[in-house]
Symmetry: C2
Subunit: 231 residues, 2 copies
C-alpha cells in the first residue's frame, strides 16, 4: 500500500518529556544533510506533515507511535506556530530540499507536548526520521526550524500544568516516594524547594495517596511509597 | 490595490468576550445564505482565511480590527481545530459555495480568544462578514461549522485564566468596585460566590489596589473604587 498523501501546508511537532529520576529529558531526532563524506547532523523535535485524511491529534499520535510503538500516552496540543519565515534558514532549506516535495511551501505546525514514563519507553528510528534519542533539557543544542521556540513554550506549559493540574505522575513510576516527587518538581521548575513547605503543599493536594508499602532494596531507611489517585 | 491572496487551507477564528456589568457576551457575525426571498441567517464566530504573507497573530488582529477598528486588545491563541469534516455539514457547504473559491478545501482553523471592554467597543460590519453583534453567552444559538466547540473551549479557557492569571480587569472599566468584580467572577464561573470568602481571596490577590476615590452618582452608599496594577 502506498502511503497516504501528505497535506503540504500543515505539520505536527511533538515536545516529548521524560524523567529518569535525576534529569528532565526531551526526545530529539537527528536530521542529516550534505554529502556522505561531509555529513552534517542537526537535531529537531519529532514531527511530520499531516496526511490529507488525518486529524491533528491522530497525526501527533502517529508520530509518537512510529517513534516508540506506544499508544495512549499523555499528549496535549499547546500552540500553533505559523511565522512566514519559520523554514527559511539556509541550513533548514538544504534539509527540506532532500526530504520534501515542495521545500519552499509555507508550513504551519501544530505543537503537542507529551509526558512519558522513561522506563516504559524505548525510542527507535521512525519512517519520518533518523535516530531518536533522549537529551538532557539543559544540554539541548540549537534545533532546526523554529523548534527552539516550540521547545521553550512546551517547557513553559509543562511548568504551568505541573503547578495547576498535578500532571507530575505521568513522569513518575506508578509508586514513588515524596523525595522522588519533590525532585521531579525541583528539576522541572529549576529551583530548590523547601522540604517542609513542599510537604505542607502536598497535604492540600488530594491527588496523591499513601500506599501500605515502603521502598525495597535501598541502603537508607526505606521511605513510604505513594501513588496518584486515578481521577 | 487588489487584496492579498488567501491561503485556502488555514483560517483564524476569534472568540471575543465582552462584559456589560450584568452579562457575559460573545461577538457573533451573521452568515446569510439562500435566495433573497427565503434568506437563512446563521451565526458564526468572526474569522477569515489567512493571507499568504500573513502571520497567525496578525490575521487574528486584522479580523478584530476590521470588526472594531480596535488595536492592542487582549488576544490569545488557545487551540487549533482540524477535524476532517468540520466544514462538511450541508448548511455550511451551501454558505461556503457562495463565499469561497474552493468550498471543499480542508481548512484548519487557529482559534483565539479576546477580552474587550464593551464600553470602548462598537462592532461593525467587516469586509469578511455581515452584521456583527453581541450575544449573551446563555442565548447563543447553534453556530456554523465547529464553532460551538470552539466557543465552548474558549469559555473554558477564560474560566481557567480568570482563576490563574487575573485577567478579569480586561473586561472591567478602569475603576471598579469589589461588587462589580465579584459579579464578573460569578457570571463567568456561572456560580454564586460567598462575599466574605471572595474578599478574603482578594486580599491575597496582589493584582488589585484600592484608589482614594469612591463611586459617584449612585443612590446607595458609594463604594470604594479599585484598579488593577499595571504589571
Amino acid at each position: 500500500m502506498s502511503p497516504a498523501p501528505h497535506n503540504p501546508n500543515i505539520s505536527v511537532d511533538c515536545v516529548v518529556f521524560g524523567f529518569d529520576q535525576d534529569e528532565l529529558k526531551v526526545l530529539l531526532i537527528e536530521q542529516t544533510r550534505g554529502p556522505k563524506e561531509k555529513v552534517v547532523i542537526q537535531y529537531a523535535l519529532p514531527g511530520d506533515l499531516l496526511f490529507k485524511n488525518e486529524g491533528l491529534d491522530d497525526a501527533a499520535e502517529r508520530v509518537l507511535y512510529d517513534l516508540a510503538s506506544l499508544k495512549g500516552i499523555y499528549l496535549k496540543q499547546f500552540h500553533t506556530f505559523g511565522d512566514i519565515d519559520r523554514l527559511h534558514a539556509a541550513k533548514d532549506q538544504e534539509w527540506l530540499q532532500t526530504f520534501r516535495e515542495d521545500p519552499k511551501a509555507r508550513v504551519i505546525t501544530v505543537a503537542y507536548y507529551s509526558l512519558v514514563k522513561m522506563d516504559e519507553y524505548e525510542p527507535q528510528a521512525a519512517s519520518f526520521a533518523g535516530k531518536a534519542e533522549w537529551v538532557n533539557i539543559e544540554e539541548v543544542p540549537s534545533l532546526a526550524f523554529d523548534h527552539d521556540a516550540i521547545l521553550s513554550m512546551g517547557l513553559e506549559r509543562l511548568r504551568e500544568e505541573l503547578e495547576t493540574k498535578n500532571i507530575g505522575f505521568e513522569l513518575l513510576p506508578k509508586k514513588f516516594t515524596l523525595s522522588q516527587l519533590q525532585r521531579l518538581y525541583e528539576i522541572i521548575l529549576a529551583k530548590k524547594l523547601d522540604k517542609r513547605n513542599f510537604r505542607k503543599k502536598l497535604k492540600n493536594m488530594s491527588a496523591i495517596k499513601p500506599l501500605s508499602e515502603k521502598q525495597k532494596g535501598v541502603l537508607h531507611k526505606p521511605a513510604q511509597l505513594f501513588t496518584y489517585k486515578d481521577d
